[in-house]
C-alpha cells in the first residue's frame, strides 16, 4: 500500500460550525504533502483529528491501510504520528531535554536519568541535523530552536509521520531555510510529512503534492509539479489573487520620525540598540529588514514608550518624544500594530468592540467626564468591523474567540482609524493567509498615499521588498544600510542582514 495515512471523508463539527466537511487526505510514504487553505478553513482541525485531540463525527482514518481509532494523542504516538503544533506545546520553564522526554522519561531507579536523556537528545539532534542545546530553558531560546525542539519531541517518540502546522509563520528567513533542509533530511530518513503553510513559495519549493480545502470543504489534491502559485491561490480563495502589491511611486515629504543616536538596552540590560539613526518621511513606507533579535523589538518599544531609552533623540514631527509615557507618544500621533497581538494588541477577555476603543476609550465621544458611552464605542466598532472585514458574529463577541487573522484586522482597523502621522507595523501579516495579507498590504499603502509615514518591521523579505519604499537593514542594533527595494535582491538583503557590510553600488550607508 503506498499510502501511509488515509483520512477518508472526515467530518468534524463544532457547535454551530462544520469545521471539516467530508475531507479526504492521503499521504504517500516519503512525500511532503502540503495542506493549503485560508485562515479558518479547517486545516488545524483536520490535523488535530489525525493526532487524536478531536474525535471526528464521520469518516475513517487508515494507517498503512489498516483502519484505526485515534482517541487520544497516545494512540497517535504509538501509530508513529507526531505533530508540531501551530501554537507551540512547550513548557516555558522546562529545559529542552525535559520537554522532549516529558511523558516518556528515561529513568533509573525511579528517578529521571537526566544525563542519559540529554545524551539521547543530543544523539537524535545530531542524526537529523536539528541543532539544540539540551540544557537550555525554553524561555531563553529562539523561536527557531523551540521549533526544532517540537520536531525532536516527535522524533524522540519514533514518529514516522510528521505533521507541521504552520511551522514557518514564526520563523526568520534563515530559520525557514534551515527548516526546509531539515524536512528534506527527514524524508531521506524515510519519514513522511504533512505541511500546513500559507506561503505558496514554500509549497512550490519542497512539497510533492498539495491538498486544498476551502471553508471546511476539500477542493482537491494536485501535484506540485503540475501547478503554480497563482492557480493554488485561486483554488484556495475561490477567486483571482494578485501577489505583487500594486502601488505608485512614493512622494516623500517632510520627515515625520527622526531618530538620532538612540541607545536602548534589552531586558537583560545588554545593549540592544546602538547609536541608531533613522528617518521616516511622510508619504513613504520604510521597511526594517533584519534577523530576529537584532534590536527590532527594542527599537519599537523605545519609540512607543514601552521601554526606557538610554540616550539619543526620537523626534515625531519635530517634537522630542524620547522616554515619554506610551499614551503621550500615542497622542503625539503614532499608531502601533504590535508584534504579539495576544500579548499587547488585545484584551482577549474584552469584547472585540471594547478592544476597538483600547487607545481612545478615555476621549470624546467615547468618554465624557470619565463616563463611558458604550453606544458610541460599539457604533464605532461596528463600522470598523465592516470596513476592515473582521469576521466575527458580532461586536460583542470576546476577542479571544476570533481567529488570528480577524484579530489582526481589528487591530489594524483600530490603529489606522486614528489616522496617525506615523504607523508602526510590526509583523502585521504573521500567520495570515494570502487574502488577508493582500488586504493588509493595501491598507498600509493607502496610509502612505494619504501622506502618512509608515514604519514596517518584518522578517519576511518578500513583504519588505514588496511593500516598502525604502529598506533599512538592521544588524546588531544598528542600521547598517539603506537600500532601494526596486534594485535590491533577497540575496543582497540576506547578506546585509547577516552583517557582511560590503560596500556595493546603490547601497547607501546609514551613517552617511
Amino acid at each position: 500500500m503506498e499510502y501511509v495515512i488515509e483520512m477518508l471523508n472526515i467530518r468534524k463539527e463544532f457547535p454551530g460550525i462544520v469545521a471539516n466537511d467530508n475531507i479526504t487526505l492521503q499521504l504517500k510514504q516519503g512525500e511532503i504533502h502540503a495542506l493549503l487553505g485560508e485562515n479558518g478553513a479547517g486545516k488545524s482541525t483536520l490535523m488535530n483529528v489525525l493526532f487524536g485531540l478531536y474525535q471526528p463525527e464521520k469518516g475513517e482514518i487508515r494507517v498503512n491501510g489498516k483502519p484505526v481509532q485515534i482517541t487520544n494523542p497516545n494512540i497517535a504516538n504509538e501509530l508513529g504520528i507526531g505533530m508540531v503544533h501551530q501554537h507551540f506545546m512547550l513548557v516555558d520553564k522546562f529545559t529542552v531535554t525535559e520537554n522532549i522526554i516529558l511523558g516518556k522519561e528515561t529513568t533509573s531507579r525511579g528517578s529521571i536519568d537526566i544525563k542519559k536523556a540529554e545524551k539521547d537528545v543530543r544523539e537524535i539532534s545530531e542524526k537529523y541535523g536539528l541543532a539544540v542545546d539540551p540544557q537550555a530553558t525554553i524561555s531563553d531560546i529562539s523561536v527557531g530552536m523551540q521549533q526544532r525542539v517540537e520536531i525532536l519531541k516527535t522524533l524522540y517518540r519514533g514518529a514516522e509521520i510528521l505533521i507541521f502546522d504552520e511551522p514557518t509563520a514564526v520563523l526568520t528567513p534563515q530559520e525557514i531555510k534551515e527548516l526546509i533542509q531539515i524536512m528534506k533530511t527527514l524524508i531521506k530518513e524515510g519519514k513522511s510529512i504533512i505541511l500546513i503553510t500559507h506561503k505558496l513559495k514554500e509549497i512550490m519549493e519542497v512539497c510533492d503534492r498539495v491538498t486544498v480545502i476551502r471553508k471546511g470543504v476539500g477542493i482537491g489534491t494536485v501535484n506540485v509539479s503540475e501547478t503554480n502559485p497563482n492557480d493554488l491561490a485561486s483554488l484556495m480563495v475561490g477567486r483571482e489573487v494578485t501577489f505583487k502589491t500594486e502601488k505608485t511611486e512614493a512622494k516623500p515629504e517632510q520627515g515625520v520620525l527622526e531618530i538620532n543616536g538612540l541607545n536602548v538596552k534589552d531586558s537583560r540590560g545588554l545593549p540592544a540598540v546602538n547609536n541608531l539613526n533613522l528617518e521616516v518621511k511622510a508619504g513613504e513606507i520604510v521597511g526594517i529588514a533584519g534577523v530576529d533579535g537584532n534590536g527590532q523589538s527594542e527599537l519599537i518599544e523605545a519609540i512607543t514608550g514601552l521601554r526606557k531609552s538610554e540616550s539619543g533623540s526620537i523626534k515625531l514631527n519635530g517634537k522630542e518624544i524620547i522616554n515619554m509615557p506610551p499614551r503621550k507618544v500615542t497622542e503625539a500621533g503614532t499608531g502601533h500594530i504590535p508584534q504579539d497581538r495576544h500579548k499587547h494588541g488585545l484584551v482577549l477577555d474584552y469584547p472585540i468592540g471594547a478592544n476597538i476603543a483600547l487607545q481612545t476609550y478615555y476621549k470624546r465621544p467615547f468618554s465624557k467626564g470619565g463616563v463611558l458611552n458604550y453606544k458610541e464605542i460599539y457604533k464605532k466598532a461596528k463600522s470598523l468591523i465592516k470596513e476592515y472585514d473582521v469576521r466575527t458574529p458580532s461586536e460583542y463577541t470576546l476577542a479571544r474567540a476570533l481567529s488570528g487573522g480577524n484579530q489582526q484586522k481589528a487591530i489594524i482597523g483600530r490603529e489606522i482609524d486614528r489616522n496617525p502621522d506615523l504607523l508602526i507595523a510590526a509583523q502585521p501579516t504573521r500567520g495570515l493567509d494570502v487574502g488577508a495579507i493582500e488586504f493588509i498590504h493595501k491598507r498600509l499603502i493607502e496610509q502612505r498615499d494619504n501622506g502618512k509615514a509608515v514604519l514596517l518591521i518584518s522578517f519576511e523579505l518578500d513583504e519588505i521588498i514588496n511593500v516598502s519604499d525604502k529598506i533599512a537593514v538592521i544588524y546588531e542594533g544598528e542600521i547598517v544600510a539603506i537600500v532601494d527595494p526596486k534594485t535590491t535582491t533577497e540575496q543582497e538583503l540576506g547578506l546585509l542582514m547577516a552583517g557582511s557590510n560590503q560596500k556595493k553600488e546603490g547601497v547607501q550607508h546609514a551613517d552617511v
Binding site: K343, G345, D349, Y361, V371, Y374
Partner: protein, 348 residues
Amino acid sequence: MSNRTKNIIVPIIAVLLGMLVGTIIMLITGYDPVAAFGALWNGAFGDSYFTGETIRQITPYILAGLAVAFAFRTGLFNIGVEGQLIVGWLAAVWVGVAFELPKVIHLPLAVLAGAAAGALWAFIPGLLKARFRVHEVIVTIMMNYVALHVTNYIIRSVLSESSDRTELVHQSASLRSPFFESLTDYSRLHWGIFIALICVFIMWFILEKTSRGYELKAVGFNQHASEYAGMNVKSNIIISMVISGAFAGLAGAMEGLGTFGYAATKGGFTGVGFDGIAVALLGANGPIGIILAAILFGSLKVGALNMPLEAGVPNELVDIIIALIVFFVAASYMIRMFIDRISKKGVK
C-alpha cells in the same frame, strides 16, 4: 433553555441541593429537619425583630462581598477584607466619639473615615504589588493580623484607659434610628443598608460605565496590553485595591456606627470579611448577584441562631448548608450538564 434563564436557575438549584443535603445529614444524625427549617425561618423572618436583624446582617455582607468582588473583577484577590473591615470599624467609631458636630457633617465624616481607613489598609498591599510585585494574597493575610492587634491596642491604649471597648459614638454619628427601632421592635437595623445598596450601584457604575472601570478591568485581564494602550498599570492596581478596601472599610463602619455603636477589642476575626469571599463568589461578582447572595447568607446566619433553641439542632448545620451551596455553585457545570440533558430529553 437560554443562557440567561440557566444563569438564574443554576444558583437556585444549588441552594435547593444545599438544603437537600443538609436535610439528609439531619435525617442521618437523627435531628428533625422540619423543625430545624421552621426554626431557621422563624429566626430570620419570624417577626419584625428578626427581619430587622437579618437585614442588619445583610448590610456588612453586601459591602464585604463588594470589596472582594471589586478586586476580583480587576484581577486581584483581596483576602484582606477582614482586616480592612476592622480598621474601618475603628476609624469610624473614633471619629464618632472624638468629635461633636452636627449630624449632617458628623455622620458622613465618620462613614467616610471608615472608608478611608479601609482604603489605606488596602493601599499597602496594592502598593507592594504594584511596586515590588509582592503577591497580594500573602500581604493581605498578614495585614489582617496586624489590623487585629493594632486596633486592639488603640482601643485599649488610645481610645480608652485600658478598657475593652470605646465609648458609644455620639448620637450625631450613629446610623441607628428610632424609626427603625419602632418598625422592627428594637432590632439593630440601621440606615447602613441604604449605604450598602448605594455602594452596589457605585461598584456597578465604576466597573461598567466609567473609563476608570474600563482601565481597571483591562489591567486585570492583560497588563501588557493595558500598558501598550497607555494605561498606568501600577496606579490601576493600587486604585483597585484602594476602592476594594474602601468598601471593606465601609462594612466596618456599618458595624461601628450602626450595629454596635462602639468598637471593642477582639479575640479573633469577625468572619464577615471571609464570608464576603463566599458572598462575592456566590453572587458571581456581579451587583445583583451580590445582593441576593448577601440576603441568603444573612438570613441563614441570623436564622441559624434560633435553631438550637427552637429545634435543638446545632447551628453548625447552617454552616454546612452554606458551604454546600457555595460548593454547588462552584460546581455549577455539573448542574448545567444536568439541565442540558433534561431539556434535551424534553425536546425529544
